[in-house]
């Protein structure tokens, strides 16, 4: 056998709803009008919660915050496909996913105000705390997926990461294990083209991120990340496969970070504003709204009413978050380990009556 081709691979991209609000009828997922409207409402809510967070930060009422502007479809489309059983492993920019699960907005704000209690998930909601150490949490999803299979629980572990996250060794170790153990796991990568100031093109020279799945012998797909229907469909398919024992999927959502990396960042230092223009045309909310209007499900006044309603919801959430009494120093000790040792107990005493 001389030079012989021994393996072939292909990467597919899925798109359903284009920037003008036109859909590919064959691919349209079977969602009823209520669901379609709910999707749009979640997109709206995501954007408003994010906008409000930025305002609070500017007023010094919230700490450093990473905006999800422009990535709403990737978050809501995938989050909407989840079932209550599934476990979610967020990165730090997935407010849209938290909202799909019904996570209390006030808690989410509270976390970014510098309070760990904001990440205490409500009972029955299987979501891990926000993960700051990029790329390290895919392994936890793998572990939960393995545990669930061991317990014969039909859940899927869904983990979110960014394009930058694909460069970490843990990304590799986790997805390789997901393949070996054929785990019920879905990794959703929001390729927003930037890792702070490092562009996607400098993160890897692979033409797509989806093809990284080939290294692990698992399924990889790319979707239009600003197309909420395509993201929903791709996630839904991946979840089905995982539930049916057909193994993990790595989904690359092509989207764009329309804001600074965080409120501590100034993207003008490193990126050309002109780059944003084409992506404004691809706005995920706009295209969904156009689609709904064409379907006669939506109009200007509905839009206005919805925004009002959501903003009222936000006023309450902010009020709740700010009404919360400050955490006690006990918090810091009691959550370090299940039982404090004698030195920790002495330290707690000192700390209690030792306001700085």
């Amino acid at each position: 056998m001389p030079r012989k081709t021994i393996a072939h691979f292909e990467i597919e991209r899925l798109g359903i709803l284009d920037a003008l609000g036109e859909v590919d009828a064959e691919l349209l997922p079977p969602l009823n009008d209520t669901q379609l409207l709910r999707l749009y409402e979640l997109l709206q809510l995501t954007r408003l919660v994010d906008e409000r967070a930025l305002n609070l930060q500017r007023e010094g009422r919230l700490g450093t915050y990473p905006s999800s502007l422009g990535q709403e479809a990737a978050q809501v489309g995938s989050g909407f496909a989840l079932t209550a059983r599934d476990w979610v492993f967020p990165s730090f920019r997935e407010i849209g996913v938290f909202l799909c699960l019904g996570y209390p907005i006030s808690s989410y704000y509270r976390y970014w105000m510098g309070d760990e209690r904001g990440m205490l998930a409500p009972p029955g909601m299987n979501i891990f705390p926000i993960n700051i150490a990029v790329g390290t949490h895919l392994l936890h999803a793998a572990g939960v997926a393995m545990g669930a299979r061991y317990r014969r629980e039909p859940l899927v572990a869904v983990v979110y990461l960014g394009d930058g996250g694909t460069s970490k060794g843990d990304f590799h170790e986790a997805l390789n294990m997901a393949g070996i153990y054929r785990l019920p796991m879905v990794a959703i990568c929001q390729n927003n083209h930037w890792a702070i100031s490092v562009p996607r093109s400098r993160q890897t020279v692979a033409e797509t991120l989806a093809q990284k799945a080939i290294a692990f012998g698992i399924r990889g797909v790319q979707v239009d990340g600003n197309d909420v229907l395509a993201v929903y469909q791709a996630t839904h398919e991946a979840l089905e496969r995982a539930r049916n024992g057909d193994g993990p999927t790595f989904i690359e959502c092509l989207t764009y970070r329309m804001a600074d990396h965080t409120t501590a960042d100034d993207a003008r230092r490193y990126r050309d504003e002109a780059e944003l223009e084409p992506w404004r045309q691809r706005d995920p909310l706009l295209r969904m709204r156009r689609f709904l209007e064409k379907k006669g499900l939506w109009n200007k006044s509905g839009q206005v009413r919805q925004e009002e309603a959501l903003n009222q919801q936000l006023d309450l959430a902010v009020a709740d978050a700010e009404a919360m009494e400050p955490p006690e120093v006990e918090e810091m000790f009691r959550n370090t380990c299940h039982q404090l040792n004698t030195r920790q107990l002495e330290q707690l005493e000192e700390c209690r009556d030792g306001k700085p």
């Binding site: 476990w87 760990e116 209690r117 990440m119 205490l120 998930a121 891990f128 705390p129 150490a133 390290t136 949490h137 895919l138 392994l139 936890h140 999803a141 793998a142 572990g143 939960v144 997926a145 393995m146 545990g147 669930a148 061991y150 572990a157 060794g169 843990d170 170790e173 986790a174 390789n176 294990m177 070996i180 918090e331 009691r334 959550n335 370090t336 380990c337 299940h338 040792n341 004698t342 030195r343 920790q344």
Partner: protein, 320 residues
């Protein structure tokens, strides 16, 4: 009651944990068919099957990260890292996640995992196979660090570690694996974490040691009025027992394999200097590995605390 060496006691402990609690899973590199490179998991794969005892790919960070997820899910993972020297690649998962998931989730999730790993020198093994970096793990709140020194406490501490609701680093002194045998109770039992063991009583000098140094220290101490405190758990260490012994004897010698600077002996000395200094009749001495990159077999005996160095230090202290 059977006469077991340390690795057999660990094997028995693992078998009983697997049998008693279906949440326990054992995994790592070569732990299944091979039974572990030191045979600590021998027979477990055959007895409990692929779902409970399985091999992983060669990925230490992955092994620990997987364990973190399994533990948060509610299981009791017992992961083996083939040698402590390969734990460095897993420190991010251990420090960033295993130790913190309880805090980050405000106790919604916890991390009851055990990481077992052979550690320490004296076995003429290749590079990175004889590390003793226990001190690193003792500086991360949220972690427990346990070091057995006999077949009996090896089993009891292992079962305690597996039952503990928080992450435990369980360091197995490779040099002791087959060095000594003793009668180990057949039934499962617990050796409580956080408690030291008085390996030998004495009233003129307190020697603090753990793991493989306990054995060496006891040999030498036999001919002196020295009390040997075998810490058993380094984090949290048994401050009360240590201080009580020091207050009784007024002299302290600390012995460990790891490099001197920044070793766990420093914390013991600092604690004594902070809380029992008035009881001291002499300087707190440390006999430890040197501040060098660990040598290969031909030089390792010059680095490991020798009986001679321990003897010399004891005699110097007793002269005060």
């Amino acid at each position: 009651m059977a006469n077991l060496n340390l690795v057999q006691a660990i094997n028995q402990g693992l078998r009983q944990a697997l049998a008693d609690d279906d949440r326990v899973l054992v995994f790592g590199e070569d732990v299944a068919a091979d039974g572990g490179v030191f045979r600590a998991t021998e027979g477990l794969h055959a007895e409990f099957g692929e779902e409970r005892v399985f091999d992983t790919p060669l990925a230490e960070s992955g092994i620990v990260g997987l364990a973190v997820g399994l533990a948060a899910y509610g299981l009791r993972p017992v992961a083996e890292i083939q040698f402590l020297g390969f734990c460095y690649a897993a420190i991010d998962q251990i420090f960033t996640h295993a130790a913190r998931i309880r805090a980050r989730s405000r106790s919604r999730y916890s991390c009851p995992l055990v990481i077992r790993t052979p550690y320490g020198g004296g076995v003429k093994a290749p590079e990175l196979h004889e590390e003793s970096s226990e001190a690193l793990f003792c500086h991360m709140p949220g972690l427990k660090v346990v070091v057995p020194s006999t077949p009996i406490n090896a089993k009891g501490l292992l079962l305690a570690a597996i039952q503990d609701p928080d992450p435990v680093i369980y360091l197995e002194p490779t040099r002791l694996y087959r060095l000594l045998k003793e009668e180990v109770p057949e039934e499962p039992y617990i050796t409580p974490l956080g408690k030291a063991r008085i390996a030998r009583t004495g009233d003129q000098l307190t020697i603090l040691a753990w793991g493989s140094m306990t054995e060496r220290v006891c040999k030498v101490a036999a001919s002196y009025p020295a009390e040997v405190v075998d810490l058993q758990t380094l984090s949290p260490f048994d401050r009360e027992t240590v201080l009580a012994s020091v207050r009784k004897t007024g002299r302290v010698l600390i012995v460990h394999e790891a490099a001197k600077t920044g070793g766990f002996g420093a914390e013991l000395a600092a604690t004594i200097a902070e809380e029992a200094i008035m009881a001291l009749k002499a300087p707190i001495m440390r006999v430890t590995g040197y501040d060098v990159v660990l040598p290969l077999p031909l030089l390792e005996d010059f680095n490991l605390p020798s009986e001679k160095r321990i003897k010399t230090a004891i005699e110097e202290l007793l002269r005060y």
